[in-house]
């Protein structure tokens, strides 16, 4: 069976999904503060590889990189509640694209699997 990434329309469709996802994050006071002053283009590129990864598309994603990238945020207070919020937005984005419940759960589980590395545990 093809991956959700392919069924969503591959890389071109990912752009709109990434915008929707990142916009939800930036307008959520719980997590927006972690994105203050960061380069938006670079951030969007990162969100694109994250979404590509969790929908089963071609993305290189290593736990080591994730740890490295989030280290300073964890020092600045990044915790479980913030990861929860991001997973919530991911779910909302997929639902807005018409992805079925079973698959949304699968993606959420894959996102969940990065929690340990993101929080540097």
């Amino acid at each position: 069976m093809s991956s959700l990434f392919e069924r969503l329309g591959g890389a071109p469709a990912m752009q709109a999904a990434v915008d929707d996802f990142y916009r939800r994050i930036l307008t959520d006071d719980r997590v927006a503060k972690f994105f203050e002053g960061v380069d938006m283009d670079a951030q969007i590129a990162k969100q694109r590889s994250f979404l590509t990864f969790v929908t089963g598309g071609p993305a290189e994603y290593s736990g080591q990189d994730l740890r490295q990238a989030h280290k300073h945020l964890v020092d600045g207070g990044l915790a479980d509640e913030h990861v929860d919020a991001v997973v919530e937005h991911l779910t909302a984005t997929l639902e807005s694209l018409g992805v079925g419940q079973a698959e949304v759960q699968e993606v959420a589980a894959l996102a969940e699997s990065t929690r340990k590395d993101v929080l540097n545990r």
Binding site: Q15, A16, V18, D19, Y22, R23, L26, T27, G37, D39, M40, D41, I44
Partner: protein, 330 residues
């Protein structure tokens, strides 16, 4: 795999951990052009194999294919053999006129001796007699037979002050053009989409070029030009913009924002990003946006427009990054 090394003219220069190709060359007293050190100005273009792909982001495909890459963005994991560190070919120019057009802002018009093709809104790297390079955006349109830049005098600034003292007839050397912040008619229907052009200070320079280029290329949709300044007397080109507003019969709309000074006539005290948000929300169709000038403000505008619903691919940003002051070498 070999240790990270830069090979040039048969000499092997080992890279220190975390060192860019640019820093390695400079440490070994190999002169290479550079300016922003942030992958933006393209002054540090070098040619070699294998070209680190990360250091080719934003390059013209024709340059990337020939193995050009940006030395300041190159952190190779193996040996890279350089065939050229000469950068882009220099274009010799002669200054035609220099005129003050605003508080601390000079308009320089010059003519290229060699053939020079560009798109309004792109920038050139101007060389100071000492060899230092700084980027300046092109405000002229291709129908004009001169190149125009707007230079803000930075107190203590090397190149901006030098440029402002040049007399007509002076020779100067530029490289480029570089940058992707310019108008393309794009796909069907794009000429009817709204445009948002926003910036502060000399960020207006590329916007003035892009604005007139879009009109010349037959753009039909509404165009909103947002100019911001700390003080009202720092806004410039007001008369020219007003004239263009009248000539385009409402297609062009001006939004002038100054944090200090008179809240009179067309000038408001609204912060530029708030104005950008409001304008975006008032539009009937999805706009394309061009943002130029002070990096902190460009970044704020980018965020404001994105949150207001503009697609990330439709926002072109051209932050005027200052050149980092070199760290003293022992």
């Amino acid at each position: 795999m070999t240790a990270p090394t830069v090979t040039i003219d048969g000499e092997n220069l080992p890279l220190l951990p975390g060192e860019s190709v640019l820093d390695c060359l400079l440490r070994h007293e190999r002169p290479v052009d550079h300016s922003c050190r942030a992958g933006h100005c393209q002054a540090c273009l070098v040619q070699g194999t294998p070209a680190p792909p990360d250091a080719q982001a934003g390059l013209k495909p024709s340059l990337a294919e020939q193995g050009f890459f940006l030395a300041c963005q190159a952190y190779p994991k193996e040996r890279v053999t350089l065939s050229s560190v000469a950068g882009a070919a220099p274009i010799r120019c002669v200054l035609q006129s220099s005129e003050s057009i605003g508080e601390g802002i000079a308009r320089l018009r010059f003519v290229a001796r060699d053939s020079f093709a560009y798109r309004p809104g792109q920038f050139v790297n101007v060389r100071h007699p000492d060899g230092a390079l700084r980027s300046y955006s092109l405000a002229s349109v291709t129908a004009e037979d001169f190149l125009e830049i707007h230079v803000r005098r930075i107190p203590g600034g090397l190149v901006s002050n030098w440029l402002c003292t040049l007399q007509p007839g002076a020779e100067l050397e530029v490289r480029g053009p570089n940058g992707t912040c310019y108008y393309l008619p794009g796909d069907d229907g794009d000429v009817d989409r709204p445009l948002i052009l926003a910036g502060t200070g000399t960020g207006l320079s590329p916007l003035w070029g892009i604005l007139r280029d879009a009109l010349a290329q037959g753009h039909r949709g509404p165009i909103h030009l947002l100019q911001g300044a700390l003080r009202a007397d720092r806004l410039y080109l007001i008369d020219e913009l007003g004239e263009l507003c009248r000539a385009t019969e409402g297609q062009l709309r001006l939004h002038l924002c100054a944090l200090e000074g008179s809240d009179v006539g067309p000038i408001t005290n609204q912060p530029l990003d708030a104005c950008a948000h409001e304008v975006t929300k008032s539009l009937a169709a999805a706009p394309r946006a061009f943002l130029c000038g002070d990096p902190a403000i460009v970044s704020k505008l980018q965020r404001a427009l994105f949150i207001a619903g503009v697609a990330s691919v439709d926002i072109l940003a051209d932050p005027f990054l200052p050149t980092p002051t070199p760290v003293a070498t022992a």
